[in-house]
């Protein structure tokens, strides 16, 4: 008897369990976005550019306008890069704007008022930014305080320091030109196209700086051990430690790097504004958080792409410029930016609910 009982198997159904019915176009789109979360801000950006182009006409599409939007978002964009790093670790940094202002008033005071060589003034200003970041990082890791509380406090401390240090007095553009023109380096520009509305399209060095910073940190986050550790700590701190990551060191390094980026932003901000202004950028912290959130990075940490924050900042800039060109009052621009944040987070939640 050599019955081959298994021969019967050959004729049986070999297919495995699967969901019935085909997916709708919307489902496929949702799956695509789930697999590529960084595409969400890109799509919103593209749609809003086309939309405002239709509403506001050719003036919006002009190279001049698009170049100007880049200039307007450059500083908040650079700060959003620092903010993304902190948010990826499941933290938040409310002090980024104040750190930047503190850094540049130090640069301006040393370079213009005390006549120190501009290079030294800039380096010391950046070091001040890093020291602020270090303070935040140490408070978060050693005292185990929530980042929100730490930076809510340090924001006020840094801001008060700015006012005490400067007496709220701006350093005038003309004085910077006379004493330390290098402070305004990032206000320099390249003109590349003659424009149809009578202005040339400009790209400032500050805009180039923003793009370079994003590319550098995109590389660091995706291609280095440090970058993977930042994601790991943000995703699950305990698991990261079990995997051998010294999470406190990573956290402190993130805050110091964020302070460093704020210091660089400070230098660029002098070029952008033209003067050293202690009262400017009061809302830059919140604007940077908005850019990160609209860019699709999760406030719960460990999830998001840094280039998303670049697109997030650009979306805000496109909305503001587009609405202004279409004739909206400033109140409505503020209103729209609020809607944008809620819309972006809703889309993010919808994508997360995907059925795999």
């Amino acid at each position: 008897m050599a019955d081959n009982f298994e021969a019967e198997l050959d004729s049986s159904d070999t297919s495995v369990a699967e969901f019935e019915g085909h997916r709708s176009l919307l489902d496929k789109f949702q799956h695509f976005l789930h697999a590529n979360p960084a595409m969400v801000p890109v799509i919103i950006l593209a749609v809003s550019i086309v939309g405002f182009g239709l509403v506001a006409g050719e003036r919006f599409f002009s190279p001049f306008t698009l170049g100007l939007i880049m200039q307007q978002v450059a500083i908040v964009g650079i700060l959003a890069c620092a903010q993304t790093l902190v948010i990826l670790t499941a933290g938040i940094d409310l002090s980024v704007g104040a750190v930047m202002v503190l850094s540049y008033v130090v640069m301006g005071n040393l370079g213009v008022t005390y006549g120190m060589p501009a290079g030294f003034a800039i380096i010391i200003g950046i070091l001040v930014g890093m020291a602020c970041g270090m303070l935040n990082g140490v408070l978060v890791t050693r005292l185990k305080l929530p980042p929100f509380i730490v930076t809510l406090g340090s924001w006020r401390i840094f801001l008060a320091s700015v006012f005490l240090y400067t007496g709220s007095q701006s350093i005038r553009s003309q004085d910077i030109d006379a004493e330390a023109p290098a402070l305004k380096f990032f206000g320099g520009k390249v003109t590349f196209i003659d424009d149809l509305i009578g202005f040339n399209a400009n790209i400032t060095y500050g805009v180039v700086l923003m793009l370079v910073i994003f590319l550098v940190f995109w590389y660091l986050l995706t291609n280095t051990a440090w970058g993977r550790a930042v994601y790991a700590v943000g995703d699950d701190k305990d698991a990261a430690e079990l995997a051998g990551i010294r999470s406190d060191r990573i956290l402190v390094s993130v805050y110091v790097v964020a302070g460093f980026i704020c210091g660089i932003a400070a230098w660029a901000a002098i070029g952008r504004v033209g003067s050293v202004s202690p009262s400017s950028f009061q809302e830059a912290n919140l604007e940077s958080i908005a850019a990160v959130v609209i860019g699709g990075t999760s406030l719960f940490g460990g999830r998001g792409a840094i280039l998303g924050s670049l697109f997030g900042a650009l979306i805000v800039g496109v909305f503001a410029a587009g609405l202004r060109l279409a004739g909206a009052d400033p109140q409505w621009v503020l209103f729209a930016s609020g809607c944008l944040i809620i819309l972006a987070v809703s889309i993010d939640q919808w994508i997360r609910r995907v059925s795999v």
Binding site: R172, G274, S277, S280, D329
Partner: protein, 345 residues
């Protein structure tokens, strides 16, 4: 229990001792004391105010206590300061309120104790809550720069393109008064005078907000130039925002042939008039507000006279002067040298 009663006992003793020494001091020197309470002591405007009050108090032999909030909007510290002043037997209080509505009950309580309360720079709401208000006439400040701009343009004023760089979206009264004053001075129908942005004169390219700083001025000017590249008159809420607007014009190669006007008269602002960045600015006088305030307290302490309002206004106007290097007929102004001499900050 024992500890509590001990504490109460010692506190009471200290209070009595304090009262005794205070009465003693008053009996000794018949010194009048006054208080100055500002929003902060970091803003140059308030620093100048304190200087004016201190100098005048010294001159009149008044002992002056100064208090300031920690930041703009710090209401709680101002309340405590008023209470402390009343308790210390001050004859009068000079106050720039952070929260002009919420402070009113505290001010009323102080007045009920016979303390003269003078609002400096910022009127309370209602304005009658204080015994008097010494402030800049912000509408007049705006009207002066509007009239100057129109006269400087001459016939071209009829087809001017005007950018309005305002303070912020919530339209605080100081911003509305300057904006509407400017338009009135320029000869434009302002519709509802209690808000900006409702005008329909085609010469106005648009309103945008600056938060009163350089960065905001720069961005607002960019936004309005986007709407119309031919803007040739720029109203700004204050001099830092004017400096920002100028940076924008410079980066577009448009700084020639555009008139920028502003309000404040701080020293950096007057220097910008000298440098040709700003065409004309309306200067206000915080030092004068404070020294007049101290004089009023001295008069009140002496024979109970209260300060009177400027005719036609519900406050005492401490004056405003147009500072420009290019005076025009029909608009009174002072030169740059005098402006620098009298500037604050």
């Amino acid at each position: 229990m024992k500890l509590t009663s001990k504490l109460i006992g010692s506190t009471a003793a200290a209070t009595v001792a304090g009262l005794l020494s205070a009465t003693g001091a008053m009996a000794d020197g018949h010194a009048v004391s006054a208080c100055l309470i500002t929003k902060t002591d970091i803003n140059p405007f308030f620093v100048k105010m304190k200087e004016g009050a201190t100098a005048k108090a010294e001159e009149l032999g008044i002992s002056l206590q100064s208090y300031a909030g920690k930041v703009d909007g710090d209401h709680e510290t101002q309340v405590q300061a008023i209470e402390t002043c009343v308790a210390s037997g001050a004859k009068g209080i000079l106050l720039t309120a952070s929260d002009t509505k919420a402070i009113v009950p505290v001010v009323e309580a102080a007045r009920a104790e016979g303390v003269l309360v003078i609002a400096l720079d910022t009127p309370l709401e209602p304005i009658s809550a204080a015994d008097a208000t010494f402030a800049t006439d912000n509408f007049e400040a705006g009207r002066l720069i509007g009239a100057w701009a129109a006269a400087t343009l001459g016939d071209a004023a009829a087809d001017a393109k005007i950018a309005m760089l305002d303070l912020n979206e919530s339209q605080p009264s100081v911003g509305v008064l300057r904006d509407q004053g400017f338009l009135t001075g320029f000869g434009i129908d302002v519709k509802d005078v209690s808000k900006w942005g409702d005008e329909d004169d085609p010469r106005i390219v648009g309103n945008d907000v600056t938060s009163g700083n350089e960065e905001g001025g720069r961005k607002a000017m960019e936004n309005l130039l986007l709407k119309d590249p031919d803007i040739n008159v720029v109203y700004t809420i204050n001099e830092p925002s004017a400096a920002g607007a100028y940076e924008t014009l410079k980066s577009f190669g448009k700084e020639e042939g555009v008139l920028i006007v502003s309000v404040d008269g701080g020293c950096p602002g007057v220097k910008d008039v000298e440098a040709g960045v700003i065409g004309a600015t309306s200067q206000q006088y915080p030092l004068l507000m404070a020294s007049l305030g101290i004089e009023a307290i001295a008069a009140w302490a002496k024979d109970g006279t209260k300060p009177e309002n400027t005719p036609g206004l519900d406050f005492f106007n401490t004056g405003v002067s147009l500072v420009t290097g290019e005076a025009v007929d029909g608009v009174p102004s002072i030169g740059i040298a005098e402006g620098l001499d009298r500037c604050w900050g």
